[in-house]
Amino acid sequence: MNETTIAYPGEEGFFGNLHWGKLMMWVFLASDVMGFASLIAGYFYLRMLSVDWPDSGELLNVMLTSINTVFLLSSSFTMAWAVDAIKRNDQRAMLRQLGITIFLGTLFLLIQGYEYFELFDLFSETFDERPFSGHLFASTFFLLTGFHAFHVFVGLVYLGCISVAAARGRYSAENYLALDIAGLFWHFVDWVWVAVFLSLYII
């Protein structure tokens, strides 16, 4: 064997102990942040210049979505526990926590879907039989929540693939990078919801 030991500069200094795959996810998330930031900024621009913006507390189901928010944010903790479990090489705990994460994510989407159905009726009444395009309130609401729901959906598919690999015993205390990277994406999807929720429902 022709083996050599070499010091690569990429292993020291900036992000020295960060694997390139994980760095790539961080870089991607920076990009995604800008996407959400742009939509939220656009939302506030339209809202502040509007003369007939409805009161979100009256039209939206704030209580239900607050509970839903708790579900989504708890899935962030279960994701972290899944990574923690595999660090201790506890396969069963990892699979259990992954399962709960996916369950909570799916629950979030289902509750949001239920809310969409209700809002379609409500917005039809309020906005001239055009639930999606009748008023910018409805358009921005569906755009922002839809953009986020798309991220949740992608995250669920991603976690689904990871779970299949996990169930086949692909991860161990030495090798859990893919799980870690997927977790990073999932945490982002969970916590960016806070910004979306605050902008649309609370402020």
Binding site: M1, I6, Y8, V27, G35, L46, L143
Partner: protein, 580 residues
């Protein structure tokens, strides 16, 4: 410290499909970007020729015009005004999104970046391949607009609503195509950033990175942070266009009838669009800065002057590029105080490029200058870009912009930076790395002829447009002679058109030379320009670049004419005591 088992990194056998089509080798992907973008460049050039014909010879039918469908020309072969709108919109869209950006950020970035930092490939070759095919897909979608009802997009490359939001199928395809192209750019930039952070060869500290790498690296940050903003603008525009939402649409009356839209803000689109597109202006020039720095240093046989200042200037351009966007919107009813802020930042952002230009001049000073073809293009870049920068100052000032906004002065300015800047940079880099990419030399004599014709007729074409701007000539109008105050400009228009046709024709010399040299060019030596950077030390043509060895870097990339070295260059991977 990493233990590398070198025996396992030899390249494996590839089939035709994985070598030439779905290749994951960064060199092949770079060449795919090169060929595809040159085709787009040719197409965009043809559209420009048609635009010029309409303006230069409005009384003569378009040559071959009778062959075109009746949605484009009337029965005598005269161009319809609607088709003129399609032509200038698609000319700009193709040139910006499908030629200049992919040539700089696809071809140079993919081909040069891993080679110059001594990496075996990009961090994720798979993502790299997907990025290229997204670019192809986006191109097909945008171009298919020519074949749908109503023709391709005709709302300018900026596609301002309400016009674009109310336009037909061609515009919808344009929006989808640009969105997909955005994904391609983001994937590329994620790869470049990660590759530079993690995959530099041993010894390749940040302070030893060649300037093209720095430029591409910094550009990737701009692409990464600006492109998703464009994507969101495109999502909203697409919804306005197809699902009749009104993000960008206020109450509009079309032919006496009030549309259903209400409450939207067209200005929001302009803000979001330019928040992307002003950084994009630098995305379209910054890799060329890197390329030209490399070429000027190599062909002056001198270290680049002010390496650290160069890097600092590039970083400050990238940072400031995010706070100048509204200087495109002075005439849109922007708040006057905000306009003053953007005027201030815009004038501030001219300082770092000036530092870069002075660094190039200082590099040339006292150098042992060799006027080979890449160097000629680099020198043209330097001078033409400077003219473009100076005319930009008139537009940056809110007072000057009142007069010059949306006139041919703007057209002249943007062509001086995009053609005189980016495209000369692309020619410089392409002729410089051609021997590395194809193993053969391009013809020096044909290159010289192409260069001089391009330089002369470029200036005759676009310098003249400044004068059209002085007359108050608006851009984007199909029949200027319908306006009495523009009747005197017909002579200038004809002159510009003749120059533009010769300019276009002289590009065929480059195309011929390029294609001929790929197959019949003179065999290139390993290091034809006697350059220092790592790419010239690669021997292996296939995947993996350095085969079973790892290049180790001992000093900076610009050690030319070092007094302790006998020859006038010292490659980065060769060790000399006392030089680091």
């Amino acid at each position: 410290m990493t233990t590398v088992t070198l025996d396992t990194v030899q390249s494996h056998k590839e089939s035709f499909l994985t070598t030439y089509v779905f290749s994951m080798d960064h060199k092949m992907i770079g060449k795919q970007f090169l060929i595809a973008s040159f085709l787009m460049l040719f197409l965009g050039g043809c559209l420009a020729m048609a635009v010029r014909w309409q303006l230069g010879f409005p009384d003569t039918p378009l040559p071959g015009g009778t062959l075109l469908p009746e949605t484009m020309v009337d029965e005598d072969g005269f161009m319809l005004p609607e088709f003129y709108n399609v032509l200038f919109s698609m000319h700009a869209s193709i040139m910006i999104f499908f030629a200049v950006i992919p040539l700089l950020n696809g071809w140079f970035a993919n081909f040069v970046l891993p080679l110059q930092i001594g990496a075996r490939d990009m961090a994720s070759p798979l993502l790299n391949m997907i990025s290229f095919w997204f670019y192809v897909l986006a191109g097909i979608i945008v171009l298919s607009g020519f074949f749908v009802e109503g023709g391709a997009a005709a709302a300018g490359w900026t596609s301002y609503p309400p016009l674009s939001a109310l336009a037909g199928m061609g515009q919808t395809l344009w929006i989808i195509g640009v969105m997909i192209l955005g994904f391609s750019s983001i994937m590329g930039s994620i790869n470049y950033i990660t590759t530079v952070f993690k995959l530099r060869a041993p010894g390749m500290a940040f302070g030893r990175m060649p300037l093209p790498v720095w430029a591409i690296f910094i550009t990737a940050f701009m692409t990464l942070l600006a492109t998703p903003v464009l994507t969101t603008a495109m999502i909203m525009l697409l919804l306005d266009n197809t699902l009749s939402t009104s993000f960008f649409l206020p109450d509009i009356i079309v032919s006496g009838e009030l549309l259903e839209t209400s409450g939207g803000k067209p200005l929001l689109y302009q803000h979001i669009f330019w928040f992307y597109s002003h950084p994009a202006v630098y995305i379209m020039i910054m890799p060329a800065f890197g390329v030209v720095s490399e070429v000027i240093s190599v062909f002056s046989r001198k270290p680049i002057f002010g390496y650290k200042m160069m890097v600092g200037s590039l970083i400050s351009i990238a940072g400031m590029s995010f706070i100048v966007w509204a200087h495109h919107m002075y005439q849109s009813g922007l708040n006057a105080t905000a306009a003053k802020f953007f005027m201030f930042t815009t004038i501030l952002i001219t300082i770092p490029p000036t530092i870069i230009i002075f660094n190039w001049l200082a590099t040339l000073l006292g150098g042992n200058i060799r006027l080979r073809v890449p160097m000629l293009h680099a020198l043209a870049f330097l001078s033409m870009f400077m003219i473009g920068g100076l005319s930009g100052l008139f537009l940056a000032s809110t007072y000057g912009d009142i007069f010059f906004h949306d006139t041919y002065f703007v057209v002249a300015h943007l062509h001086y930076v995009l053609f005189g800047g980016s495209l000369f940079g692309i020619f410089a880099g392409t002729t410089y790395w051609f021997p590395k990419a194809f193993g053969r030399m391009m013809n020096q004599r044909l290159g010289q002829i192409h260069f001089w014709l391009t330089l002369i007729f470029f200036n005759l074409t676009f310098f003249t447009m400044h004068f059209l701007g002085f007359t108050g000539h608006m851009r984007r109008i199909a029949e200027p002679m319908n306006y009495p105050f523009l009747e005197s400009t017909q002579g200038l228009h004809t002159f510009i058109t003749i120059s533009a046709l010769i300019l276009g024709a002289s590009q065929l010399i480059f195309a011929f030379d390029f294609l001929r040299s790929i197959f019949r060019g003179e065999e290139a030596p390993a290091n034809p320009w006697k350059a220092n950077t790592l790419e010239w030390s690669v021997k292996m043509p296939g995947h993996g670049n350095w085969g079973t060895t790892v290049p180790i870097v001992y000093h900076g990339p610009y050690e030319y004419s070092h007094p302790q070295v006998q020859e006038d260059f010292l490659p980065q991977h060769l060790h000399r005591a006392g030089i680091n």
